[in-house]
């Protein structure tokens, strides 16, 4: 029994390609039933780390356990417990959606029903269409469908909603929430920070091969990074910003001082995206009021 052991356990993982060290010693756990978002810019080492967990690449050093198995030795029985949605591929797609899902369902010991999965990804109307005739977003939904057809215990979602329109993205979020409610453990990478905030329980931020922060979605970046920001244009027409725990008081003061409505007044609660960008740029948003807009707009863009 492995009640207490995490579904994914990574300790001091390193991966080098020649002289280049893509992953420089990262450690994290993902518990059963958890959705963990791995964030980071392109080339940060995210994909390398995930492909090591999926069993596609061998690590240079460190310890990795996925569902209690070292991915480098993962056999077919182990793979049957995983669902992998890779970044988009360019397959020829000379089969229909139903044919493809039926075939893949046959590879797994306890697959979901094909019609059910097609409905879950919202492709009922395209079930009999060849995949090559689908739009980019629709093909992406087929990728997701193929990832969940085997009823995985652990689902890897690598930038799953690239190319989705907003409605499709929200439908996808609903699907992920239902998978999560079923107890599926999910490792998600995404460039949409709102997606990570919507779906993730915890997040890790990778930059330059290192895990620079990890924690609950609501805590990542530390409390300082979450201090609300008040922005307004002063009498001389300059844009001003100030971080404060009491934005209402500041707004009231500004109103009193200017004797009217301060121009362009905003109260901003930093989004996960703002915090993430602050982390990745290595400059956490400070508590002090910013004199010049340029610095902070860069951080908060």
């Amino acid at each position: 029994m492995e009640h207490s052991s995490p579904v994914v356990r990574v300790r001091d993982l390193r991966k080098s390609y020649g002289n280049f060290e893509a992953v420089r010693g990262i450690s994290f756990d993902i518990e059963a039933g958890e959705t963990f978002a791995l964030l980071g810019p392109n080339g940060a080492g995210k994909s390398t780390a995930i492909e090591i967990l999926e069993g596609y690449r061998d690590r240079s050093s460190g310890e990795v356990s996925v569902l209690g198995v070292d991915p480098q030795r993962g056999g077919l029985a182990w793979k049957s417990r995983l669902g992998i949605v890779l970044q988009s591929t360019g397959e020829s797609g000379n089969v229909t959606v139903t044919e493809q899902l039926t075939h893949f369902a046959g590879l797994y010991p306890r697959p979901r029903r094909v019609a059910e999965v097609i409905e879950a990804v919202g492709l009922e109307a395209k079930a009999k269409t060849r995949i090559s005739k689908l739009s980019g977003g629709q093909r992406r939904r087929v990728d997701v469908a193929l990832g969940i057809i085997g009823r995985p215990e652990l689902l890897f979602l690598d930038e799953p909603t690239t190319g989705f329109d907003p409605e499709a993205r929200h439908q996808f979020w609903d699907l992920v929430r239902r998978l999560k409610a079923e107890g599926t453990t999910i490792l998600l990478t995404t460039h949409y920070l709102d997606e990570a905030a919507q779906l993730g329980d915890r997040a890790g931020v990778i930059n330059d091969g290192l895990l620079i922060d990890i924690g609950a979605i609501g805590e990542i970046g530390g409390t300082d990074a979450r201090v609300p920001l008040v922005r307004w244009r002063d009498a001389s027409g300059r844009l001003q910003e100030k971080r404060t725990q009491e934005p209402a008081r500041l707004v009231a003061e500004l109103g009193a001082a200017s004797g009217g409505e301060p121009a362009d007044l905003e109260v901003i609660r930093p989004s996960l995206e703002d915090i993430y960008l602050g982390l990745v740029r290595g400059s956490r948003p400070s508590n002090d009021a910013a004199d010049s807009l340029e610095d902070d707009t860069e951080v908060l863009a």
Partner: protein
């Protein structure tokens, strides 16, 4: 979209998580069903159907590997048909038509194309476009994958050969052998040749560095083999060094075996040693079968790990 994954809406995430944890623990103790040798076979057979369907839906493969021998047979018959029979007596009588002479070569070319060219280009393409990476993330055994590819080559190869023979008989009026033992010989040369070609195709698929370069790398190899092995040019007119070179490779022996089946026995005197040499054909093809099998097993990867 609302009830795609049933039975979850009413449950809380926590209780569902507990159930999932329990079922995970249960499945960890007792191995899941359908992952043994039988399932490798069952999935392999399902891959044959899937692969065959894909083959006939891909215009390139239908044209360049399935229909190519028909086109070449038509061209040779049209180009040289008027210049009289091949192998005639000094008085101009007897011999066989150009179509009849080229039929065995086209059958051999079909075996090579359906196996080597088709699979080498197909698998290199699948490696390049991400198909193999996706399959490598599923519990598909490489054995089932191989079975699917070889089964597809067998199905399409048999279909192609049957159609070629039918066209030869009905459209070109070529006489076919009537002795059962000739057809028995045809069966083993064909099966051994096609399966050898299939393994060599899988092995050669490791050669192209990308899916796009696959045809550029594979087609010249296949084309040169066809020219030196007696498919397009009559083997007996080739210089001896070229005949010896061709004898290293399997296509020469496949073509020779097919000539042994479809040409009159008097034509054996045109062979290098004046005989059909069926035991040597079996030996050469068997050696290449083992080479192909070993190379396939050693070189096959779902993805290039070094990139």
């Amino acid at each position: 979209m609302s009830n795609g994954i049933p039975g979850t809406d009413s449950r809380t995430a926590a209780s569902a998580r507990a159930t999932a944890a329990a079922s995970t623990a249960a499945s960890a103790e007792s191995p899941r069903p359908r992952t043994g040798g039988l399932s490798v076979l069952r999935i392999g057979l399902s891959r044959v159907g899937y692969e065959t369907r894909m083959y006939f839906r891909t215009t390139d493969s239908v044209f360049f590997t399935f229909l190519f021998p028909f086109i070449m047979l038509a061209i040779f018959t049209a180009a040289f048909g008027a210049s009289g029979n091949i192998g005639t007596a000094p008085d101009g009588s007897g011999g066989i038509s150009v179509g009849a002479y080229y039929l065995p070569g086209m059958l051999a070319a079909g075996m090579l194309l359906s196996g080597v060219q088709n699979l080498a280009v197909d698998i290199a393409g699948e490696k390049g476009d991400g198909t193999l990476k996706r399959l490598g993330g599923t519990p598909l055994s490489p054995l089932s994958y191989f079975m699917g590819k070889i089964g597809q080559v067998l199905v399409t190869g048999i279909f192609q050969a049957a159609l070629l023979i039918l066209v030869a008989r009905v459209l070109l009026g070529i006489d076919l052998p009537t002795e059962p033992e000739k057809w028995l010989t045809f069966a083993w040369v064909f099966l051994l040749g096609v399966i050898t070609s299939a393994f060599l195709g899988i092995a050669l698929s490791a050669l192209p560095r990308s899916g796009k370069s696959a045809t550029a790398v594979i087609i010249p190899i296949v084309l040169i083999l066809q020219f030196i092995s007696g498919v397009y040019l009559q083997f007996y007119v080739l210089p001896e060094w070229m005949q010896n070179l061709a004898s290293v490779f399997p296509l020469k022996w496949m073509a020779q075996g097919m000539r042994g089946v479809f040409l009159p026995d008097s034509f054996a005197s045109l062979e290098q040693t004046g005989a059909w040499e069926f035991p040597l054909i079996a030996l050469n093809l068997a050696i290449w079968l083992v080479v192909g099998l070993v190379l396939s097993r050693v070189t096959f990867r779902w993805i290039r790990k070094d990139t």
